[in-house]
Amino acid sequence: MGIPFAGVPGQAGRMTEQAAASAPAARPTARSSGDWLRAAIRRSESLRGYILLSPTLIVMVCGMILPLLTMVVMSFWTQTGFDFDRSPTLANYERAVDGAVYRALMVRSLIISGTCAAATVLIAYPMAYYVAFHVHRRKLLWIILMTLPFWTSYLLRVFAWKIILGYNGAINSGLMSVGLIGEPLEFLLYSPTAVVITLAHAWAAFAILPIYVSLEKIDRSLLEAAADLGDGPVVRFFRVTLPLSLPGVIAAMLLIFIPTVGDYVTPDLVGGPDGMMMANLIQAHFGKVNNWPMGAALAIAMMLVVTVAALAYIWVSRKAVGRIA
């Protein structure tokens, strides 16, 4: 009968014996430092990745961190004519916090940008919904159509609204030429509303695309499941579609809110004195006002406020999503 089973455990032992007999000849004994480095690089995938990443990372970190640090340092200085008093002081920040004008402008910036982000998302949502759920052929054409105006000059898109809303602009002159009004409507241009409308138009693509992507990702069988379980179209939208598309909505809000807070062109062109925003003030400190340290302090204050506002917004919307789910 033999002992056929005995071969199995014995086999591994014999193999290693045999391997050990021939191994030492092949094993290298000494390595130069160059070889060592090469072996280390080969061995560590993370290291190889960082070597490849280093040009990009160095450029970006230096390009962001160094300027921001210099700005932080300067914000503690004082402008003296065309030179700086470099003794560190908190005076700029104290002025920024105490000054009613600064606070008012900051609050107005947040309100205008927040309103603009909300309005842009609100009017873009049905559009994105239509393309995601009701366009079956030529989807790409619709996407290009929705984003095409975005690719033209930002400045000109803003300026186009000045043409439309202006004192002698398209609306006023159009209404007057058909005799509906005798005098131009002055409230159209140079108001916070004009800023919100203009920004909502200029940043539309940043709302449409994220919302569209999040709607498109929704598994259609989930909607069928909701219908199967007794939800009508409207209830189904609020219980399934909307919660699942919220990540896109949240992303769109941030993508619009953050850059528009820092926009000074739109307020300058269509805002008028009542539509001025924080960014205009910062820009002025590096131009007409010529107080760079104060401008730096205002920029840092704005960055902090925007960051806090964005984080608070993310936190609140996460909570909200959690509650709906």
Binding site: G49, M60, A124, P126, L155, A227
Partner: protein, 272 residues
Amino acid sequence: MSDKAGAQRGNRPLLFYAIGYLAFLYIPVLFLPLFSFNDSIYVAFPLSGFTTEWYSVVLADEPMQAALVNSLKVGAAVATIATVLGIFGAKAVTRYRIRGQRPVIGAIMLPLVIPGIILGVALLILLSRVGVQLSLVTVAIGHTLICVPFAMATLMARFEGFDRSMEEAAADLGDNAWWTFWRVTLPLVFPGVVASFLLCFTISFDEFIIAFFLAGTEPTLPIFIYGQLRFPQTLPGVLALGSLILVVSFVVVFFSQWLQRKGAAGSAGPGI
């Protein structure tokens, strides 16, 4: 079946909404070409007559030409540098397991969440403290910083879109890293490279907020246009210029979308 009928019913109002929305997007923009052919220096209704005068005026305008050339130079340089940096970054984060990958990507994407004015001001302060003269180079530096995140995002999508076993197969068949890159990686990410280049070029070409702080005596096109907007007599010329930019960007976008689509169709074939 009933679901489909429901979708059909819901279709109508939404379709009207969509058309209205597109009108909202397009009509303001289309006012530019409309008034650029108007035979009056006042941008107002009623239209007084047809002319192409403003086009010949603006095309003969030497400061405009200089600004256009400046913008093209900056745009091309920025698009090239940002795309190259994007290729390095995208390849590194999609092909290697890197410790601390999320914070690293976050650091590179940082310009997306910092208002442009802050970056512009901070760069202005640094450059003036170091004593660098403001010029087109400093504009290009600022634009590169805001373009790299877009280049990275575009290229990462492309790198993730093709299987890393393609590159492994090239290595397995005897190619070192350099040859693998030229023979496999670059051809496969090429549509992404073109898309990234066009995107970065467009962003730089259009960027005003940062360029305003960093440009020296040579203006870029947006800075030139911004200057012209203050004077009523130059307005029609700006409208003509804007219309030309409009047409060119439409053509470029259509071309790049077509290219993207072609690239996506090519890689969606069997075997991937």
